[in-house]
């Protein structure tokens, strides 16, 4: 690899007429290639600069909606025995407030901001799967509007954002709201996981040359960690959602103690998701601070490897804390002691991260501006939340504080200090990148002080409200118990806080067409996203520089000039195709020039048809669900067929400076293979959660496995054998395809598909032939779930194998251009693993039990 200055060799001398003409022609082609469509077709845009901004704005609209619900609740609680709103409306309001803030704001806002700035930060033109981003966005909009809109029909979920059964499984008491919660959010969770897959690959594989893994911006590190956490945290919730919806829809008794189900299984699955969720929300906000602090201290971060390790440590520990949400459920005291210890331990890496910021400020010459104001204010608030977190982590104290306003105060100190304030800091900081304009420093200061004072007036008293005995989730309280005036103060504070949010929102949306553009790199930052011109261009980066520093703009002389003059890589779009670089994971050596797909309707239509399935299921409209599902399948096939694994017109191209890169890679070198691997890791986590459910019941009930009531051994073993045979034949197909023997490869594909289909069916035969009735007891129910899960995966395998066959017949899959075959073979590994585990558990485990 060569440095940027060397790649200039062979170009006309800088500043010459010929050089200017070359640059103008390149810019013209790039602009045309990355152009955003006009009119109605604007909504087909998939570029991160469009989708990311839509995503951010939509998440904020949902946040404001949930904030209004909070004001409604505060108004109701201002005085004792208030009757402003009914108990049922209040219950809907707090359920929706928590749900929307968590699922429609806190998680999506991080993905949205990352979609906007991550590619810029990594000197990439776009994320590797722009259509997937667009699909995720449209899913998010549809699912979010569906969930939020329910309250206007008095049909919102009303059982709390944690949806504990049996209250939330009770049809009469929770109504259709619970289905809206389960199906609406499952749909959004799928979109969140899709975004996580994309962000992981974007960080690992789409960096500028030279940016080794120990040089990536801290924001990218955090995105990598958080996206990884999403991959392991969301699937248990999806598994829980499946069990939950099966109970609601078909009366399978997973959480019904009368039929040996257990409501605590839901609590475990929910909090195995729910606790990492807190850090999934908090870490990206810390990531923003980690970009802001060095800029305003005008020096590199102190302790780069410490903060990275601390963030990784936080991520790991966050999966071992979930039981501290269940301290009062009567679990053995000894296990509470363990989870108390783990919960205290997580404060240590958090402390390291905070002191990295303080140390960086100490070692720098600090410029104080609005982003720093919000960052510092957020820190002041968050530290209180962290300290009360240490308090509630101790089980004895939690027995008092749990489910009281003390915890309401604690979690808002954590989330508003650790998430909302940093996000606002990030908005003031990054706003010029999206619009070229600066936000008002005056409005920012007013907004900050209103928010800061209002927040503390509102939430500090709640610590005492809670310890004086006020439980959470009460629509009213009697007077004279010692918390009347505390509640009034909280309500006043909440409205002051809301006024501050209003000022910030006004600053963002007020018309700015008469204001001048910001100077380039207005904060004098050191990282690549500030290469952007004001206003920015859709192409992201003019040409991709070679990176030798963590803060290249500060440390690499002439970097901006070289990039602008197209002396980096990919300075042109000769074929008028959207391209970005793919690099190796650790050392960021360029390995491919990736063609990314452009604008299309298919992501939006796919999202709406898939959403249609979920929405129709909520109302048990089976036919519309089926129709929508078939439509989704067709759109998906069209999307895959026309825009993935395209055979390029030439095998490789010169990306500038004499560097020639292939246009097509398959197997582990390709991003598609990674996407499959990461997605299937999440999928396997959901599967593992279902298996966990099986063994959870086994630990609860000594006689969980009913003698003679299982699926037998024969059918499970036949199913396992068939699916393993399908796996072996799939691998043969891959080998023959690579050996350029299309005929045997195609025959193998057909054989593998038949075997997989037969294997899935044989799996279902076990419980079917043994007359296992899933509504009678939890044992047959969980066995059915495991075999259905496996059968569905086998069916997806069949579709994939036949897709490969079609691609081969159509000449779109050859011995060299074999992404499809390689990815399906990877899927086959996971399918084989699923089959072995499922059929060993349902068929063999009863024998040794």
């Amino acid at each position: 690899m060569t440095a940027t200055t060397d790649t200039a060799a062979g170009l006309p001398p800088p500043g010459s007429e010929a050089d200017l003409a070359r640059r103008r022609a390149q810019e013209e082609r790039l602009r045309k290639t990355w152009e955003t469509p006009k009119g109605i077709r604007y909504w087909t845009a998939v570029n991160n600069t469009e989708v990311g901004v839509w995503y951010t704005a939509t998440a904020f609209v949902f946040m404001l909606f949930a904030g209004l619900l909070a004001l409604l609740m505060r108004a109701q609680l201002a005085v004792p025995d208030n009757d402003l709103i009914s108990a049922d409306l209040y219950n809907q309001a707090f359920t929706l407030h928590g749900t929307v803030m968590m699922f429609l704001f806190a998680v999506p806002i991080f993905e949205a901001v990352a979609i906007v700035i991550l590619p810029q930060m990594l000197g990439a033109r776009d994320l590797p799967f722009p259509r997937l981003s667009a699909f995720g966005f449209w899913s998010f909009v549809l699912g979010g509007v569906f969930v939020c809109g329910s309250i206007f029909f008095n049909a919102a979920p009303n059982a709390g954002w944690f949806m504990y059964p049996p209250l939330a499984t009770d049809e009469e008491q929770s109504g259709i709201g619970a289905d809206i919660w389960l199906l609406g959010l499952s749909f959004i969770e799928v979109a969140s996981i899709a975004a996580a897959v994309e962000l992981i690959i974007g960080t690992l594989k789409c960096r500028p040359p030279g940016m080794r893994i120990n040089m990536i911006p801290l924001f990218a590190w955090y995105i990598l960690i958080v996206a990884g956490m999403i991959l392991f945290a969301f699937p248990p919730l999806i598994a829980g959602d499946i069990l939950f919806e099966m109970e609601r829809m078909f009366d399978w008794p997973f959480f019904d103690p009368e039929r040996r189900g257990d409501p605590l299984l839901w609590q475990h699955l929910f909090w195995i998701f729910g606790h990492p969720e807190v850090y999934i929300v908090f870490l990206p906000a810390i990531a923003l601070i980690a970009m802001i602090v060095p800029t305003f201290a005008q020096r590199p971060i102190v302790g780069y490897s410490w903060i990275v390790l601390a963030a990784v440590g936080t991520g790991f520990l966050s999966f071992g804390l979930w039981v501290h949400h269940m301290f009062a459920t009567g679990l053995p005291t000894i296990s509470l002691a363990f989870f108390s210890a783990a919960s205290e331990a997580v404060a240590i890496p958090t402390g390291v991260q905070i002191f990295v910021f303080i140390a960086t400020l100490l070692a720098g010459r600090v410029i104080f501006a609005v982003p720093m104001l919000f960052a510092t204010g957020g820190l002041a608030i968050f530290v209180i939340g962290g300290l009360t977190g240490v308090m509630v982590a101790l089980a004895p104290f939690d027995w008092q504080a749990h489910d009281t306003y003390f915890v309401v105060a604690h979690l808002h100190y954590v989330l508003i200090g650790g998430m909302l304030f940093p996000i606002v800091a990030g908005i003031y900081y990054f706003y010029p990148i999206t619009s070229g304009k600066m936000l008002s420093m005056r409005l920012g200061k007013i907004g900050f002080w209103l928010m800061f004072v209002g927040f503390n007036v509102g939430f500090l008293p709640m610590h005492f409200t809670g310890l004086r005995g006020m439980p959470r989730r009460v629509f009213t309280y009697p007077g004279g118990l010692g918390f009347d005036w505390l509640n009034m103060v909280s309500t006043v504070g909440a409205f002051v806080f809301a006024a501050g949010v209003g000022v910030v929102v006004w600053d963002v949306v007020r018309p700015k067409s008469r204001e001048p553009y910001a100077p380039r790199n207005p904060w004098n930052a050191g990282t690549l996203e500030w290469l952007t011109t004001m206003p920015g261009e859709n192409w992201g980066v003019r040409s991709v520089p070679f990176i030798t520093s963590r803060y290249p703009i500060w440390d690499q002389p002439n970097l901006i000039r070289d990039v602008d003059e197209g002396r980096g890589l990919l300075p042109d779009a000769e074929e008028m195709k959207r391209e970005t670089l793919v690099t190796s994971v650790l050392d960021a050596e360029p390995i491919q020039c990736l063609r990314v797909p452009g604008n299309a309707w298919s992501p939006m239509i796919a999202a709406f048809t898939l959403g249609g399935v979920f929405i129709a299921l909520t109302f048990k409209w089976w036919i519309p669900a089926l129709v929508s599902g078939v439509a989704f399948f067709c759109v998906l096939m069209f999307w895959l067929w026309t825009s993935t694994s395209l055979i390029p017109e030439k095998p490789e191209k010169d990306v500038g400076g004499g560097l020639v890169l292939p246009l097509y890679r398959s197997g582990p070198a390709s991003i598609g293979w990674w996407a499959m691997f990461i997605t299937m890791t999440g999928d396997a986590t959901a599967f593992a959660s279902l298996v966990f459910g099986y063994f959870f019941y086994w630990t609860v009930h000594a006689d969980f496995v009913i003698d003679g009531g299982g699926p037998g051994v024969l059918w499970p073993m036949i199913a396992m054998g068939l699916l393993l045979a399908s796996w072996a034949v799939t691998l043969l197909a891959r080998r023959w395809n690579s050996a350029d023997r299309p005929l045997p490869a195609r025959l193998a594909l057909v054989t593998a598909a038949v075997l997989a289909g037969a294997g899935g069916a044989a799996g279902l035969m076990g419980p079917y032939t043994h007359g296992m009735a899933p509504t009678t007891d939890v044992y047959p129910a969980i066995v059915w779930i495991l075999v259905i899960w496996t059968a569905i995966h086998a069916a997806v395998g069949v579709i994939m194998l036949l897709y490969c066959l079609a691609r081969s017949l159509a000449g779109r899959m050859t011995a060299v251009y074999d992404i499809d075959m390689r990815n399906v073979a990877l899927y086959a590994h996971f399918l084989a693993m699923t089959a072995v585990v499922t059929f060993a558990v349902v068929g063999l485990f009863p024998l040794i039990n």
């Binding site: 219950n91 504990y164 005291t333 331990a345 240590i348 005492f464």
Partner: protein
Amino acid sequence: MGSSIGKRRLARRAAAVFPAVLATGCTGPQSALDPAGREAETVAHLFWVMTIGGAVIWVAVLALAVYAGGLKRQPVSEAFAFRLIVWCGAAIPTVILAALLVYGLYLMPELRPWTREAAAEPGLKGHVTGEQFWWRVRYDLPEGAVESANEILVPVGRPVHLTLTSPDVIHSFWVPALAGKMDLIPGRTNRITFTATKPGVYRGVCAEFCGESHALMALTVRAVEPEEHARLIAAEARPAAVTAGAGLDLFIAKGCAACHTIRGTPAAGTVGPDLTHVGSRPTLAAATLPNDQAARERFLRHPDAVKPGIRMPAYDMLPPAEIETLARFLGDLT
């Protein structure tokens, strides 16, 4: 919403149930910061220790951040800044947290034993069931079980062992002045042990969201000296004070007995609270209303207006005279 105006007035009176406690100027009858039980005292102490320690840490961190961000004249060296991360970010917190954890773990077996066997010491034994939206209370006395509702009588200075279950949804039993909370989970039996240290009337609530009227599911715990307790429990075990008359006839005729028990009479329903001594309880409808004639009449007429989602049907079709008779009868069940 005329009924809600009435509700407000009645609820104001409900607060008057605790005048003695309010007069002392404490933080309230439902406060964990005004402990009257052994566990609550320990935890309140723990709270103040942690709060003061936390406040000191917060001031120190903020002072350092403000100094670093705005007040200092010269940047410190990178080596010094790095040492700050190691010491203040990692080493000192580790020591503080370890000490706190050891203290917390040391407290735990004392408050809630490691094993269930260790909990089986002498003391008052009982069973509490959380139901939407009230508390079924049963005293397991040597001479037999005695059922009551929404009020628990406990002896000062003696441990109280309660088993906790729920037939419908998850509830949580929490009397802040006495001890921390414990959930009541369908299909599971949990246990809680506490010891009251001061005589008094303490208010408890359901702390796990349990449906529409979760906010209106409270109870009272009356802690009295052991001799007084023995007397009160003996009274609780006796059959009803009134076992004949127009009130009881109405009670039976209007179907109340299908759900409620009045011991000593043919009324033996088990769906709703036992009403044998309902007149002696300080509150009505799970500590939602004061126990007076007006409140009883109102509750009989429109239970749903007091407690949305309640399972008891409205009796507003009865003539006022009958409502009055019924309410007076219930009040006489002391």
